[in-house]
């Protein structure tokens, strides 16, 4: 019954408190900050609005009764609150953020400036086409770049994020199968796939059949052949894969999948490693989403918004979701419905325009030459990390790797230190940990993606920190030190078990006061 490995989710009991005895609980620049609901008071506001027009309301008797309960704060209170909150976050701007598979690269500020231009940031999605020709041109240009970079004939622009793009790809595949009267029920996906792949397949009514990997961390072709059959709709394969490796047999995979009458969905989460160097269209894929917030630097924003355009092959392109941009003699226009083979609509309006602008600004800044360099430098840095750490940590697979280097916890064997402890110790050293416990195919995974943004000095400093921590772990007498980490952060390890057993998902009136002592009181 076990399909997932758990790990400690309550803090270790042994570790000593790191709270220093200040009166406020503050520690220099690290400020404690209450919830807005605990700060706010009735009768205060952070906006000045004129009186409402004196009219007889036309609410049909549905005027709200009673108060909402929102707190009142002045502008300085709001600014201070959110500035203090911001200071509790790690960010790319502050340091190396080697979160494998997430591609935490620099977010150019030019992109932000462009997204806020009057005429781009403030236009309405349903303005008449004649008043948004520039916006449609921009979408068309971005689509052109994406098609050229991937070597694919079409692109669906509306998906809102990577997982939404996967959904788009599978919907197009389902529509194509349906159009040829072919009902298929299974999707094949490697065991190492992102959780979104099986979740997306399930949304489309498919069962998911895992394909094992070889000892080299690639798709096992024999196992794939054995699983292929007339009921297989598609394979979902990440390339470069989630172990940071290029699927060297990818063309063979495509041939096998197509021979079985199925489609090849490529998860493009790791496109950053090959942008400008390799066109997925040359490898035989049918659909691939591109996370604009990964490869094309749109900000991750604490978890979105993303944007996940999907490039499509000739076999799938007729089924693109609405809306899409077409160019005719009278300029650009949006096709929003009508007599097409489109499988339908994925969200309201026209896609993540704000992200399109940023991604296109990034592409134009780099050009074809710069994008190729992005892939090269990201791969170079990851291999450099792997080469520099292979004697003290344990790489899971033989290199070269692509843009991320995968290690497992063999180097921590018998030390008493876990992957989680190791990651938490990195935090005190000023680093965001790498992705841990993913992919699931190796034990105690640590997936490091330095990205092309880092200088060599920066990568060297990171490497020497990890070397130091690995050596410290191997001393054997440092278990408690690791288990107590982090100590220097706004909060130390949090009790996730408690959060899940008795969920508190919102502030409630009356829960005011004594928040810090609440646990102690129990």
């Amino acid at each position: 019954m076990l399909n997932r490995q758990g790990r400690p989710t309550t803090p270790h009991a042994a570790a000593n408190s790191a709270v220093t005895g200040t009166i406020t609980g503050n520690r220099g620049l690290q400020m404690e900050e209450a919830l807005i609901f605990e700060i706010g008071e009735e009768g205060r506001t952070g906006v000045d609005l004129p009186d409402a027009p004196k009219v007889k309301d036309r609410l049909g008797g549905l005027k709200r009764q009673g108060k909402i309960g929102l707190p009142g704060l002045s502008e300085p209170q709001v600014v201070r609150h959110f500035v203090r909150l911001s200071q509790k976050n790690y960010s790319i701007d502050a340091g190396l953020y080697p979160l494998g598979s997430c591609t935490m690269k620099h977010n150019p500020r030019l992109n932000e400036k462009m997204a806020r231009l009057p005429g781009l940031g403030d236009i309405h999605p349903l303005q008449p086409a004649s008043t948004v020709q520039g916006a449609l041109e921009l979408i068309d240009q971005l689509a052109g770049w994406l098609k050229t970079l991937t070597g694919m004939p079409a692109v669906a622009m509306s998906p809102a994020a990577g997982a939404h793009g996967e959904l788009c790809g599978l919907m197009a595949i389902r529509a194509a199968l349906k159009a040829r009267g072919d009902v298929r029920k299974r999707i094949l996906a490697p065991e190492s796939a992102h959780g979104t792949n099986p979740a997306t397949a399930a949304l489309c009514g498919y069962t998911v059949d895992p394909i094992p990997a070889t000892a080299e961390g690639r798709v096992d072709l024999d196992a794939l052949q054995a699983k292929l059959g007339p009921d297989v709709a598609a394979i979902m394969l990440t390339n470069p894969n989630t172990c940071g490796l290029f699927e060297r047999d990818i063309k063979k995979v495509a041939e096998m999948v197509h021979a079985a009458g199925a489609f090849f969905y490529c998860d493009g989460a790791n496109f950053n490693a090959i942008v400008g160097k390799v066109r997925p269209g040359d490898l035989g894929i049918d659909a691939m989403h591109i996370n604009l917030h990964k490869t094309f630097s749109t900000p991750h924003g604490g978890g979105g918004p993303g944007s996940g355009p999907v490039v499509l092959s000739d076999a799938l392109k007729d089924f693109v979701p609405v809306p899409y941009v077409v160019h005719g003699s009278d300029g650009y226009r949006l096709v929003e419905s009508g007599d097409t083979k489109s499988f339908g609509r994925m969200k309201a309006f026209n896609g993540q325009m704000g992200m399109f602008i940023r991604a296109l600004a990034y592409m134009m800044s780099h050009g074809a030459d710069g994008l190729k360099r992005v892939a090269e430098d990201s791969v170079l840095s990851a291999n450099y990390v792997m080469a520099s750490l292979k004697d003290v940590m344990s790489p899971s697979f033989e290199g070269p790797c692509m843009h991320e280097a995968l290690f497992d916890d063999r180097f921590l064997k018998d030390t008493g230190v876990t992957t989680l402890d190791f990651a938490k110790a990195m935090i005190d050293e000023g680093y965001h940990p790498m992705t841990v416990y993913f992919p699931l195919v190796v034990h105690g995974a640590m997936l490091i993606e330095p990205t092309e943004s880092e200088s060599k000095d920066s990568v060297d400093a990171f490497v020497s920190t990890l070397r130091g921590l690995a050596e410290k772990a191997k001393q054997g007498d440092q278990v408690e030190w690791f288990q107590g980490a982090p100590r220097l952060t706004p909060r130390r390890r949090l009790d996730e078990t408690r959060a899940a057993r008795s969920p508190v998902l919102r502030w409630k009136p009356g829960s005011n006061g004594a928040p810090i002592d609440k646990a102690a009181a129990e």
Binding site: E42, T45, L73, S91, D495, A499, A500, R506, A519
Partner: protein
Amino acid sequence: MRYLGLTEADRGEMLNTIGAGGIDALFKDVPTGALNPQLDLPPHQGELEVERAFAAMAKKNVSPMEVPFFLGAGAYRHHIPAAVDHLIQRSEFLTSYTPYQPEISQGTLQYLFEFQTQVSMITGMEVANASMYDGATSAAEAVLMAQRITKRSKAVLSGGLHPHYRDTVATLMDQTDQPHVAAPVDLAGNEDLATFIDEQTACVVVQNPNVFGHLRDLSGLARACQAKGALLIVAVTEITSLGLVTPPGAMGADIVVAEGQSIGVPLSFGGPYVGLFATREKYVRQMPGRLCGETVDQDGRRGFVLTLSAREQHIRREKATSNICTNSGLCALAFTIHMSLLGEAGLTRLAEINHGKAVQLAEKLSQMKGVAIVPQAFYNEFAITLPKPAAEVVEKLVEKKILGGVPASRLFPGDKSLANVLLIAVTETNTEGDMDKLAAALKEVL
């Protein structure tokens, strides 16, 4: 190249350390012939050149700042306080990711907790999640959630539901051949959805105010749903309405989905926006998306973590409640900051201004020959009927430098009964001068 950190010398040294003869040695797994394709794309450019290119494209659009502007239909122009955009551009918010390491993500986690609380409060519901992509995808996810809870399949979609929402729901349901019934288009605002509910009905999806502006009391519908064991899903596309209008929670909604764009998020040609998703506490484990919860740290101090993650794709995989991963974090932050600035008094006043101005414009337009205001009760948007096709009228208004509304035919193409219907939204950004100009221009055009 300004965004890249390595020098040529660095690259050489790093290749040496790796023991690779050249960069392409690292790409040796790429099939022969597929490496280094010729790309027909321009070379890199400096900031100035890129700015020029974007400015040129921006100039080809008509900005709502330049003209009287009355478009709504699910996306609304509101004033965003300066502090909002400043704060969301702080590096620590803009350039961080999903709070996977809570010790160094308390900023993000705390605002998500505040966001969840604000959304719960304004919708009148018990719990809310940490956001979805937009209102339409929230609606689609709500239908799937209702199916899980009721173990029934059919969804009934109101004839007043925004067609983009209706189509987003239908497209998702079609993947698994789930039945959905769209009630006839409800321009009059008097549909009786109770008649569509049967023993197979998982949920009824209804928008309030609906796409034509009608505000309706949904309490009766909620009771009808309850009596048949179906869930009531209420969609709100203009979230500022809840500053003035009875929230769906108070009318008996089981799930509230909403577009949060009106608070803090710019129009941006349709995205990114922020989907709100709120429900009853008893359904929390069936919710899609991320949830932030309160807990304590090792030293007993209050802190926040992502919680109930076993619902989500990264743990539950094919049995997850949704495939959503990245959501709308930064837009949720903008929402939280703007809502914090507004507070109770500000949100209420903002809503009163929106409604008051809409009433003023409705009165102005209702005096015009051939024009009729469709809804009796509305918030800040209402459909009007014209003596000629609304799409033509809108084009003529463009010539007069007015963006005069959304023709219903844009949302309901092919529905001839709606050809002469125009949707007009009024917000605090519209001046009396704007309204006079619209009325005057309409008079000339009609």
